[in-house]
């Protein structure tokens, strides 16, 4: 509530340009979905799920949080059991590691694009919209000037980001080894789809 009502607590994060989307989800004991398996009756605590999509390594990310908004972090997590505060950083990282859940599947619609690359794309898109409007009303000579000004503004945003750095060589090898299973599964799905009337 302190973060939602007083966004200045998060100012240290904004402008880091590391985070794409992040969320906090507080789940009370009666809010865990019950689809027939029964309500959760053996829970005394609320739980907070924190998901973040960010650039850089895990260590860089936690370091940035701890350096950027140490008090903000404490405001978020002060009511969590055994939360060790965000400074010093080692117990904080140990706490996060202990409470972290390994992800099983991750999808990024813009792989290779860091947060600033996404912002660059938004700038280019906005510039194109402006040029479209100008093109409809300006003469050729006027439009050339408008175009040159727009190009100058966004010239730094036109590069291709390329591949993002792979997390590790093990990750790359895992992707290579997993290809067989992924391909088999997709072939199975394709044959089901092709057989369907």
């Amino acid at each position: 509530m302190a973060a939602r009502g007083v966004p200045s607590n998060l100012m240290g994060l904004l402008g880091l340009s590391l985070i794409h989307f992040a969320r906090w989800v507080i789940i009370k004991p009666d809010q865990w979905p019950d689809l027939g398996q029964g309500k959760q009756t053996n829970l005394k605590n609320d739980y907070v799920l924190f998901c973040s999509n960010f650039n850089g390594t895990w260590d860089q990310y936690i370091d940035a949080f701890s350096d950027g908004i140490p008090n903000g972090l404490n405001l978020f997590w002060y009511s969590s059991i055994k939360y060790p505060l965000s400074i010093p950083i080692t117990p904080f990282k140990n706490y996060i590691t202990y409470n972290q859940i390994g992800n099983d599947y991750y999808y990024n619609a813009t792989p290779g694009s860091a947060q600033r690359d996404i912002k660059s794309c938004i700038k280019v898109y906005d510039a194109l919209l402006g040029l479209e409007k100008a093109h409809a009303t300006q003469s050729a000579e006027e439009f050339q000037k408008t175009y040159n000004v727009a190009l100058l503004n966004i010239q730094g945003d036109l590069g291709d980001p390329g591949f993002g750095p792979v997390a590790s060589l093990d990750t790359e090898r895992a992707d290579v080894h997993r290809e067989r299973y992924v391909r088999e599964q997709q072939d199975t799905f394709d044959s089901v789809r092709n057989a369907a009337p």
Binding site: L18, K44, Y47, I81, Y105, D175, Y181
Partner: protein
């Protein structure tokens, strides 16, 4: 609802996974089946290794998701015994050998979290505000889009989840995912080109609104305890002043938390 921020829905769903004591022909737990199905899903073509496969993620078949993740949550994380002051424990007669309660979920959950455009049809502009009903429509439209573009992959994963036996159509899946929906408490993104004027909580006025009647109540109580029947100059009965001011304090605090904060 805090699912919506800057034209995007921060969709969070928890689908309970079947208990493995149920009859299961291939002798693998439903949790493990979910993990295997997720491991076999292709990721985006994000590296030379994955680009060489020529197979893109099924999520790329729709244009509404920016990011998506799925993981199995086995159980609540237990951080260990909560210690307490030794003197307090002694006075209370707490036997520290006896274990405290440990939270346990009655099933594992498949958590699916996605950051999606808050639209019901491709090409629509991103909205600033949506009512609860409109947000539900957006979630349903996204679920239908997923079903229409990756039905087999969804079935492979979700067939291990409780209540999925009755899901046969896109509408069924939308209804199913709605039952699994949990509201995001606080969304965050950092795509601002310029920082907007955020809506700020009026903390000082709120604090004053609660503290002033609280102070009046305290002063009236102290006066009453010291034997003053009426408030000097105002002539109010000190007992009634205390009761009314205390009631106002509680009411204003309650309303501030319920409607403002």
């Amino acid at each position: 609802m805090a699912d919506l921020d800057s034209g995007h829905i921060f969709l969070t769903t928890f689908a309970p996974i079947k208990d493995s004591s149920e009859s299961n022909a291939n002798h693998t737990s439903f949790e493990q089946n979910v993990r295997i199905a997720l491991a076999k899903l292709p990721t985006a073509m994000q590296s030379p290794a994955t680009q060489n496969t020529g197979i893109n993620s099924p999520f790329s078949r729709n244009k509404r998701n920016h990011l998506a993740r799925m993981f199995v949550l086995n159980d609540a994380v237990y951080n260990g015994r909560i210690g307490q002051n030794a003197l307090v424990a002694t006075v209370k007669g707490v036997n520290t050998v006896v274990p405290q309660h440990v939270d346990q979920l009655n099933c594992a959950y498949l958590v699916f979290a996605a950051d999606i455009d808050a639209i019901t049809r491709d090409g629509e502009p991103l909205p600033t505000n949506l009512s609860k009903a409109e947000q539900k429509d957006v979630r349903a439209a996204y679920a239908r889009e997923l079903w229409n573009t990756m039905e087999l992959e969804i079935q492979d994963v979700y067939s291990n989840c409780v209540g999925f036996e009755d899901v046969d159509t896109a509408d069924d899946f939308a209804e199913y995912l709605d039952k699994c929906h949990v509201e995001t408490t606080m969304p965050f993104h950092d795509y601002y080109m310029e920082l907007p004027k955020f809506h700020l909580l009026a903390t000082k006025p709120l604090l004053l609104a609660v503290l002033i009647p609280a102070l009046v109540a305290m002063v009236a109580l102290v006066m009453r305890v010291l034997g003053w029947i009426d408030v000097p100059m105002l002539g109010w009965n000190t007992l009634w002043t205390f009761i009314i001011a205390a009631a106002l304090t509680v009411l204003i605090a309650f309303m501030a938390v319920k409607y403002v904060i």
